[in-house]
């Protein structure tokens, strides 16, 4: 248009048919010829389509039928997108935007490892618990709890601690383990395994009759009831000092040393079997991010209750779900420089469109890693639909940057994946707490698309989540600060996308995300 005035009728028709997706091949040919030959037609096309895009982005201007419950001030703006669900026969005729009004409850707060800003100096994080029974009188810990200097007493089971500097320790009960400082612990009795990454060398564990200083390695340590210490070095080397003889020696990988009550040291073949469980747990991950907040264990969102019949089992093996009731996934390998696309979908029984969670392509920048180590990303996702609808979970995606790729990589069947009662709606928003949950309830009118970006920086031990629109919407305009984030920076970004269908409630909360350096081949 512009100064050239109105375009002719033909242009109208063609552009409008193109917009509507009703253009015929012949017309499309015609349109292309027109655009190639006529600058004013091009300008009209550009303006017309820009307007279309802005309208798509802008609506709804009014929000009828909206439940009034506006999220608290910090809501992340959520794009409400239509979705051409699946690859239906209509997919060629893409639908116009069906901007959707929805009730949003998105809470993003909390901090991950705020080194130096802790009021109570916590040293380690409870990363995993396996069949744990605490000693009588012992305060029970939950996954995600931060642990200050204290004693951890177990009757049985395995606790994995993740230290701020990357040291991972698993304690196998019965045991009595004392966290003293970041670099020192005491094993009063029981069994433990430790992995000490580069940069954390010097981590030491004292026993009643010996002191072990790690020089960058993986080792196992047992203090028996009769007061003997046994050290097995699986990798690297360890300096062992006997308290009695004040004798110090370096123990290399593949060796074990027993220190008897009197402090005498004796070499032995390495002990592998006794440490198997502890090491298994140890290597499930080497880096742990706090699963969104210390708080009281009661509130850790992965726990049972609040409508959830099952607790999270934060354990997984690459590419498979260990427990039916959990949605734990891991992308086996991610190389620096690859963009990857990971999808998780929960398919409904009778229709494939009832409810889905997708993890969309990484928001770039895996290649920002300076390391060449492959690493693994684990995601914990929880998705609610009608519980009886959910029959399978699919991971879809590809490791290239093809956006069109929608191929299943893994598929799992599970009779009962998630179950949540209506109380689950009762997640509280607590701006003051550092607890981090991101519950979200959407009454889906047509289809929604919500993005949650997670950034992970394994080098910095930092994690950041950003809830963001997939695309523009009116709420973006209103809320200038469109993204809420927690924690600090990080170069890896994962994007979650939740897609819902008309008439269905979709609830989505992300309890934890973990990342690990892939264990070396020797593991």
């Amino acid at each position: 248009m512009n100064s050239n005035g109105q375009p002719n009728h033909d242009t109208f028709e063609l552009v409008s048919a193109y917009r509507d997706g009703t253009i015929s091949p012949v017309q499309q040919e015609h349109l292309q010829r027109l655009l190639l030959s006529d600058a004013s037609a091009r300008e009209y096309f550009l303006r017309f389509m820009t307007l279309e895009a802005l309208l798509e982005a802008r609506f709804p201007v009014s929000q009828p039928n909206l439940p009034v419950s506006q999220p608290n001030r910090e809501e992340a703006p959520i794009t409400l997108l239509p979705e051409t669900v699946g690859r239906s026969s209509r997919s060629k005729r893409w639908k116009p935007v069906m901007a959707v009004a929805a009730t949003l409850l998105f809470v993003v707060s909390g901090v991950v490892w705020q080194t130096g800003h802790e009021k109570v100096p916590s040293i380690a994080l409870v990363a995993d618990l396996t069949d744990v029974s605490w000693a009588p009188g012992h305060q029970s810990l939950n996954v995600g709890d931060k642990v200050p200097p204290s004693r951890i007493r177990l009757r049985h089971g395995i606790v994995r601690l993740s230290y701020q500097h990357g040291v991972a320790v698993t304690i196998q009960g019965p045991a009595d383990y004392e966290i003293r400082t970041l670099d020192n612990a005491v094993l009063h009795h029981g069994r433990m395994a430790a992995y000490v990454p580069d940069g954390a060398e010097g981590f030491s564990v004292s026993t009643p009759n010996a002191n072990v200083v790690d020089l960058g390695t993986e080792f196992g340590l047992t203090v028996s009831n009769d007061g003997e210490t046994e050290l097995s070095v699986f990798d690297g080397k360890v300096q062992l000092t006997s308290s009695a003889e004040n004798d110090s020696q370096i123990v290399l990988a593949g060796l074990a040393v027993r220190v008897d009550k009197a402090g005498r040291m004796r070499h032995e073949p390495i002990h592998l079997a006794p440490y198997r469980d502890a090491r298994d747990s140890l290597f499930r991950q080497r880096m742990v991010w706090e699963p969104f907040g210390p708080g009281s264990g009661q509130e850790f969102p992965g726990r049972k209750g609040r409508g959830w019949q099952d607790a999270w089992a934060i354990q997984t093996r690459a590419g498979s779900i260990i427990e039916n009731e959990t949605g734990v996934f891991s992308e086996p390998t991610l190389f620096p420089g690859t963009e990857f696309f990971l999808g998780i979908a929960a398919a409904a029984d009778n229709s494939t469109e009832s409810c889905q969670v997708r993890v969309a392509r990484s928001f770039g920048s895996v290649d920002r890693f300076s390391t060449n180590e492959p690493f693994t990303v684990e995601l914990l996702l929880r998705l609610d639909c009608e519980p009886q609808d959910v029959k399978s979970i699919r991971l879809i995606g590809a490791e290239d940057n093809s956006t069109a790729s929608n191929l299943p990589l893994w598929e799992f069947e599970a009779a009962q994946i998630w179950q949540a009662g209506s109380e689950h709606l009762a997640w509280q928003f607590r701006p003051s707490s550092s607890k981090h949950t991101e519950p979200l309830t959407l009454r889906v009118l047509q289809g929604v698309s919500i993005r949650c970006f997670i950034e992970i920086d394994p080098l910095m031990n930092q994690c950041r989540a950003t809830i963001s629109n997939r695309r523009v919407s009116i709420s973006m305009k209103q809320a200038n600060e469109s993204s809420q984030s927690f924690a600090s920076d990080g170069p890896v970004r994962l994007a979650f996308e939740v897609i819902g269908q008309e008439g269905k409630d979709v609830r989505f909360s992300m309890d934890a995300i973990r990342i690990q350096n892939r264990p070396t081949a020797t593991q």
Binding site: M1, N2, Q6, F12, S16, Y18, D20, G21, P25, E43, F45, L46, R47, F48, M49, T50, L51, A53, L54, L55, E56, A57, R58, F59, P60, V61, S62, L81, P82, T84, K92, W94, K95, P96, V97, M98, A99, V100, R361, F363, G364, S365, N401, T403, A404, R464, T466, S468, N469, R471, V472, M476, K477, N480, E481, S482, S485, S488, D489, R493
Partner: protein, 178 residues
């Protein structure tokens, strides 16, 4: 931490300019679905190259340029797709869009005012189309009119919006800094 600041800065710019970036992609004839994909790619590229962005220059211009390049590369990768304009056409459109950037990006700021002036019927039609997601045919059914009538009415409506936008933006055409 500088990187946080950087990232926050980026996100602010991205979000503020996302409608324009989306429109830059969509205006090259991509359908919504593809446009959203390209938008994601674009965001990714922008973030990776954010170091190259000069503070004080026009973020939207830079971003839309990247978006157009991404669109072209998307077109190149997309194999035969009947719904897409061909590569050459998109290329020509993109180069025009580059020249018209300020005007096109400026539409974003003037659209609101023009929407406010709409007649009730027109308003309803947009609501049905965008808010309720109805097709022209469905809207036609609601209003007892034929699909083509609705389509023509919409096009007319678009044209009057375009005229309004152009009129509005005359004194101060130009895309803002993000």
């Amino acid at each position: 931490m500088p990187q946080i600041d950087n990232h926050d800065r980026f996100m602010r710019l991205l979000v503020a300019n996302q409608p324009k970036i989306y429109a830059a992609i969509r205006s090259l004839g991509l359908n919504q679905h593809d446009a959203e994909d390209v938008l994601q790619d674009t965001a990714s590229v922008l973030w990776r190259r954010f170091d190259e962005f000069q503070e004080g220059t026009h973020f939207d211009r830079w971003a839309c340029k990247v978006a157009r390049l991404q669109t072209l590369s998307f077109r190149q990768k997309a194999q035969r797709n009947a719904c897409l304009l061909d590569h050459e056409t998109i290329e020509v459109l993109a180069s025009d869009a580059e020249l018209l950037h300020d005007q096109l990006a400026g539409m974003h700021t003037t659209l609101d005012e023009c929407l406010d002036r709409l007649e009730e019927d027109d308003r309803r039609m947009l609501d049905e189309r965008f808010l309720s997601g109805r097709t022209n045919k469905e809207i036609g059914g609601l209003l007892c009119k034929s699909e083509s009538t609705i389509s023509r009415a919409l096009t007319r409506l678009y044209n009057s919006l375009l005229a309004c936008i152009e009129h509005q933006s005359e004194p101060t055409a130009g895309g803002g800094v993000g």
